[in-house]
């Protein structure tokens, strides 16, 4: 269980996170949505341990988060593979570094499993620059799962991809999360309303100052597995969609 209590964070005197309280239970998929600058990526980085909160407490399973750790893995927007390493080496080196206690054979087996699961095993010896953006991001997803984290943090993972590739990756992500891994909890920052609803159990709507950081938390009551084509006709989907639209339009910065 992930708990944030009264978390504050500011940059250059500007409060980005203003007293965020949030509890995410084990096994939940939570999406974060909001306009640019609302602090959703900051929140994710605080949970990931890349940023330190100015005030408040963040804990995972009762242990305070003070820095990055193997119980959490991240997928960044810009793929962020190491350019000189093959896809295989990217996943292998990260998993090896994050889980030094694993035997090499176990590590190799895990790496192969996830690279296969994202359909890249036959491309494993290519370098990132030799494959498409979608394939790079699939590698980044495999890399995160290969660590075997308790909590997966996704920072606009599919934002830079075309619609078809994005749809495919959303599907893969859900299947990996539900069937393939010990990874239980997922936090995902997104700009896409439909993406947030399709994937999440709950959606956290965030806002710019002066509103409180967490504007609302909306549960998504749609049974899984969700079919991307039929789910959009469900009344529950429509309801959440309208609610999100209303919140986000009301939040629209005056300047925009």
């Amino acid at each position: 269980m992930l708990e944030l209590t009264n978390v504050w964070k500011s940059f250059n005197g500007q409060d980005v996170l203003r007293g965020v309280d949030l509890a995410v239970s084990q096994g939940e998929f939570v999406s974060f949505i909001g306009h640019s600058g609302c602090g959703k990526s900051t929140l994710l980085n605080v949970v990931g341990g890349l940023l330190e909160a100015d005030g408040g407490e963040v804990s995972l399973d009762g242990r305070a988060i003070t820095g990055p750790g193997p119980d959490r893995a991240m997928v960044f927007q810009n793929y962020s593979l190491l350019p000189r390493l093959s896809l295989l080496a990217n996943v292998r080196e990260a998993a090896r570094a994050a889980r030094p206690e694993r035997k090499a054979a176990v590590n190799d087996e895990v790496v192969e499993r996830y690279l296969t699961a994202v359909g890249l095993w036959e491309h494993r010896n290519k370098r990132p620059a030799q494959v498409s953006g979608g394939m790079q991001q699939r590698t980044a997803v495999a890399r995160a799962f290969a660590v075997g984290p308790r909590l997966l943090l996704l920072d606009e993972p599919f934002g830079a991809l075309d619609a078809l590739t994005r749809a495919r990756l959303q599907q893969q992500l859900i299947e990996l999360w539900q069937h393939e891994s010990e990874t239980e909890t997922v936090l995902m920052v997104t700009h896409g309303i439909d993406e947030a609803i399709l994937l999440a159990d709950r959606i956290v709507v965030m806002a710019n100052p002066p509103s409180p950081s967490v504007l609302d938390v909306i549960p998504v009551d749609l049974p899984r597995p969700r079919d991307r084509t039929s789910v959009i006709d469900e009344p529950a989907f429509r309801m959440v969609q309208e609610r999100l639209m209303a919140l986000l339009t009301a939040e629209e910065p005056a300047a925009a």
Binding site: L82, R84, R113, G119
Partner: protein
């Protein structure tokens, strides 16, 4: 447990094998030949204009060798480039070789020290703050100013010249390496932190690959300046090498040898630069 075996999406296939550089626009065979010939043509025009200007200047200043005299001297020098008749009389090839050895020695030492120092500066704010002021103050100093110090400390003109080359080559290498190491993208630094890469793995997989192009650029600049400075250093040292040859020819009144030496020094400089440019291209690929 079901394993998903996705195939690349259509979009992926289309945008396809993708992010590598597109092959350079293919120039048709005949087009390439025409461009090559045109290049040579224009180069000849420039060269002819330069030689004409030289001839004109030489006419009004009778002490200067004419282009013809320069060319004859060059041919003479290149006929037996490697003869060796004692310390004061060596072929031009030997003199160039002696200079190159000094340059490479000083340059190698500068690289061995400069690259790690650059990594240190680029990787640590404190190291940067400590070293950068010294670098900035020493960098604009003509390396020749170090010659007397080298002479006093090393008590040998050859070593002093190598020392001057070392100082010359140090700054561009340090600065460019530091700039490369300091500019590792935030994303890659975050990846290293999130996945807990060790310091060694971080330097090996992130810092070195990322800074390699800057390092080679720094080395290329260093080599370019070192090759310029060696001529002046050897004029001061007055011992061996192409700089000594230039100075000795001047003292012997054979300015046409000086002119030939200039041509040869330039040619070697271009060759050195080409090697590093190739290296840089390889590192960037």
């Amino acid at each position: 447990m079901t394993i998903v075996h996705p195939t690349p999406t259509e979009a992926e296939e289309l945008s396809g094998r993708p992010a590598t550089d597109p092959p350079p626009a293919k120039v048709k065979g005949s087009g390439r030949v025409i461009r090559f010939v045109a290049g040579i043509g224009w180069a000849s025009v420039g060269l002819a204009a330069f030689v004409a200007l030289w001839a004109l200047v030489a006419r009004s200043a009778p002490d200067l060798p004419t282009p013809g005299e320069g060319f004859t001297a060059l041919r003479e020098l290149l006929r037996y480039p490697f003869y060796d008749l004692g310390p004061n009389d060596k072929g031009i090839g030997r003199q160039l070789g002696v200079s190159l050895v000094k340059v490479f020695t000083g340059f190698a030492m500068a690289t061995v020290i400069g690259v790690p120092l650059g990594f240190l500066m680029g990787g640590s704010r404190r190291a940067w703050a400590a070293v950068n002021p010294i670098v900035q103050i020493l960098r604009p100093v003509s390396p020749l100013a170090w010659f007397p110090i080298g002479l006093v400390v090393l008590k040998d003109v050859r070593s002093a010249a190598v020392f001057v080359i070392f100082v010359t080559s140090l700054w561009p290498t340090v600065i460019n390496t530091a700039a490369g190491a300091a500019s590792v993208p935030v994303d890659q630094r975050n990846v290293a932190r999130v996945f807990n890469l060790s310091r060694v793995a971080y330097i090996r997989h992130v810092v070195i690959p990322h800074s390699l192009p800057s390092i080679i650029t720094g080395m290329r600049l260093s080599m370019g300046i070192a090759w310029m400075v060696i001529v002046a250093a050897e004029m001061l040292a007055g011992n061996t090498g192409i700089g000594y040859f230039v100075w000795n020819s001047y003292n012997g009144g054979s300015l046409s040898y000086v002119v030939s030496a200039i041509v040869l020094i330039g040619t070697v400089g271009v060759a050195l630069d080409t090697v590093f440019m190739r290296l840089a291209r390889k590192a960037a690929a």
